[in-house]
Symmetry: C2
Amino acid sequence: MSEQREITVQLIHEIGVQIGRKDTAKLQDLIDDLHVADIAEILEELSTTDAQFLYQFIAEEKSAEILVELDDDLREDLLADLTAKEIAEEVIDNLETDDAADVIGELSEEKQEEVLSLIEDKDHANDISDLLTYPEDTAGGLMAKELIKVNENWNTLQCLREMRKQAEHVKQVHTIYVVDNDDVLLGSMSLSGLLLTETNTPIKEIIKTEIISVKATEDDKDVANIMNKYDLIVLPVVDDMNRLIGRITIDDVMDVAKEEAEKDYQLASGISEDVESSDTIWELTRARLPWLLIGLLGGLLGAIVIDKFNIFEINYQLAFFIPLIAAMGGNVGVQSAAIVVQGLANDSLKMDNISQKLLKELGVGLLNGIICSLIILAAAFALGYGDLSLAVSISLLAVIVFAALFGTFVPLTLKKYKIDPALATGPFITTVNDVLGLFIYFLIGQAIL
Amino acid sequence: MSEQREITVQLIHEIGVQIGRKDTAKLQDLIDDLHVADIAEILEELSTTDAQFLYQFIAEEKSAEILVELDDDLREDLLADLTAKEIAEEVIDNLETDDAADVIGELSEEKQEEVLSLIEDKDHANDISDLLTYPEDTAGGLMAKELIKVNENWNTLQCLREMRKQAEHVKQVHTIYVVDNDDVLLGSMSLSGLLLTETNTPIKEIIKTEIISVKATEDDKDVANIMNKYDLIVLPVVDDMNRLIGRITIDDVMDVAKEEAEKDYQLASGISEDVESSDTIWELTRARLPWLLIGLLGGLLGAIVIDKFNIFEINYQLAFFIPLIAAMGGNVGVQSAAIVVQGLANDSLKMDNISQKLLKELGVGLLNGIICSLIILAAAFALGYGDLSLAVSISLLAVIVFAALFGTFVPLTLKKYKIDPALATGPFITTVNDVLGLFIYFLIGQAIL
C-alpha cells in the first residue's frame, strides 16, 4: 500500500540538490511513487527553472494531471515550454474535459485553436471547445462532459451493455443519469442499485426521479451552496430545455466554497488579492497596500477633524480617549459586517427583511454599548477624569450603536446592488467608523464639557 | 422531476399561519415533496413550539434525516419530546452509523445507554457505540461504518455476490475496499471497474494498491486537507494495525474545511463563538463582547499612555495623528497575522523556518512602510504641520515594520505551543499594536520635536 508521503523541507532540499547535479536517475527515484498532488506541491516550492527541469522527467500519465494541480503562474510557465502538438497529445489527451478546458482556457486564443485542431479524438475536442464557451464562475465553467447516461426505455441489461461502451471515457462513475429520447434529464440510478437488480428490469421501474440539477448559467457559489446543503457528491447540469449537458463533482466545488470563505477573510483583514505567504515580497505588498492607503486617508481625515474641533480649548483631556473611541467604532463595525457577510455567503440570511435585521442589530449594539459604556464610566471615573468620564461614556454608547447599524447596513446595501458585500468588512467600515466616531465624540464632548 | 424549491419568506409565513390554525392537511401539502434539507431550513426559521408541532407530521423516513440537518439547539429540543424507544426505532434505525452516533452523542449518558439497548439491529448498535468512543474532531469521529469490503483472494463473481449481501446496509457505494484475511487494507476497486471485468477475474488482478488512508486518531482538519489535496470523495480509515474500520465521505468534511475558514474569519472579526445572524440578541452580544472588552482595556491603556507622556508639553499637535498611528498599527498587524493563519490552515506554510518568514515580513513591512510614510510626509507637510510631519512619518514607518513582525511572530508562536493561531488575528494583535504604536510614536515625537 502506497501512502501519501510527507513533503518535508528535507525532501525539497534533496530534490534541489539533485537538480543542481542534473542527476536524473536520483530524481526519478525521489519522485517516482509520489502522488501527483505531492509532485505539484514540490514543483511549487522550487524555482521556475528548477521546476521546468524536473517537469521534463515526469511520466506522461502523471504530468498532465500535475499541470491541473499547479498554481496558474507555474502552469503557464510550464505550458510555455510545450508546443501545441505536445499540449494536445501529452496533456489534453490525458485529461477529463473540465480539466482540459481549464488548461486550454489559459492559452492565447491563437494557441487554443491550434491545440484544439490537433486533438485526435474529435468528440473530446468538441466537448472541450463547448466547455470553453461558459464563464469560469458558472456551473457550465465547472462541469465536465464525462458522464454515464441511459435511456428510460431500456432495461438493466441494455444499460450495462451501453455503460460498458460509455465507461471507456469516464474514469469514475458516481451516478447513472436517465434521460428521455430528447436527452431531457428524468432522474438517476445508483450503480449499486443496478448491480442489485435483475438484468431485465425496465429502467423505468428503478429510476429515482427525485433529482436536483442546476442550469449551466448558475453562479458557482450557488452551486457550492446547493451541493453542500443537499449533501451531493455529483450534480447534473442541464440547459434551458432541461437537457443533460454535464456534471459537477464535489471536489471541484470544495475549492469554491473554501476559496469564498478565505477570500472574505482576506478582504476582512485588508488583503485585496488572493496571496499566500510563499508569494514574493512585491506581491504581498501590492495586496496589502490598498487598505493601508485607505487607512492612511482615514488617519489624515481624523487629524483634520481633531484639528478643526479645537478640542484643546474644550478640554485637552479629550485627546486621551481618541484611541478608545476610534478602535471601538472600528471593532463593532467589523463584527456587524462579518456576521452579515457570512450569513449572505451561506445563504442563511434572507435579503427580504433589511429593516428587521437593523432593528435586531440596534438591540445588539445597545446591549454591547450599555455594558461597555458603564464599564468605561466607572474606569475613567476611578482614574480621576471627572466630567470627562461622562462624555466618554455617552460617546462610546453612541459610537457603538452607530457602528453596529452602519456595519450591518453597508454590506446589505452592497449586496442589493450586486457588489460583493465582503468589500465592506475591511477598509471601508473601519475607516468610516474611525472618522465618524471621532466626530460623534467631539460633538458630545462639546455639548457636555 | 422534483427540483429544490426556493424557501421563501412567503412559504415560511404560510406554514406559520397553518400551524396557528392547526390545519394538518394543508401543512402536509406544503412540506410533502420538499427535500429534508429544505424542511430542516424551515424548522430553523420557526419558533421552537411551532417547529415541535410541525415535526410530528413529518413522515418517519424523512424525520430522522431532518434531525441530522438541524442545528444542535433545535435538535435537542425535538429529541427531548421523544422517548428512548422512539429515538431508537424511528430515528436511529433510519440513519447511517455516523449520523446516528452524532444524534446519540448529544443525549445524556443515561439516555444514550437506554437508546443503544433498544436498537433492534445489534450490529448497528455495536457500530454506533464503537463510533461514540472517538473524539468528535478526529477521523474516527467523522467516519461511518457502512462500507463494502472484499477479500483479496476472491474473484469478481464472489465479490458481486458478497457485495449484494453487504449493500443492504450501504446506501451509496463509492469505492470497494480490498482487505486481506486480517482485515488489513490493501487497496481499492471501483464499482465501474468491477462492472467492466470478466466475472471470474481474481481481485488481485484488478486491485488498485495506491490508496490513501488515515488513522482514526487523525485531526479532522488534516482529514479535510488530505481529501481536498488529493481530490478524494471517500477516504478509508484504519486503526493502528492498518485494519479497515470505517470511511469518511467528502460531504462530511466539506463542512469541516468551510467551518474552519469561517471560524478563522469570525475570530479575525472579533467574534468569539460561532454565531449566525438568526441567533438571539443575547447570543450575538455574548459572542461579541469579549473582543470589545479587550478593545476597551486597550483604549484605557492608550489613554494612560497619552496622559503620562504629557504630549501637550511636547507639541499638542501630536494628538492629531493618534488615530492614524493606532489604526495603521492595527491594520498591518491584522494583515500579517491573516496571511500566517491561512497558510497554517491550508498546510501550505511549513513551520520549519520561522526566522525566514520574519525576514520576508520585514521586507514587506519596510516596503509598505516606506511608501506610506513618504505619502504621509508629503500630505502632512502640505497641510502645514511642519516638523511634526517628519515625526509622524518616521513613527509610521517604525510602527508598520513593528506591527508586521509582531503580526507574523504571534500566530507562529501560538501554533508552536499548539494554541489556535487564529486567536491572534482578532483582539490581541490589534490592541497590542494600538498601544505599542502610540508608545513608539510618542517616543519618536519626544526625540524629534
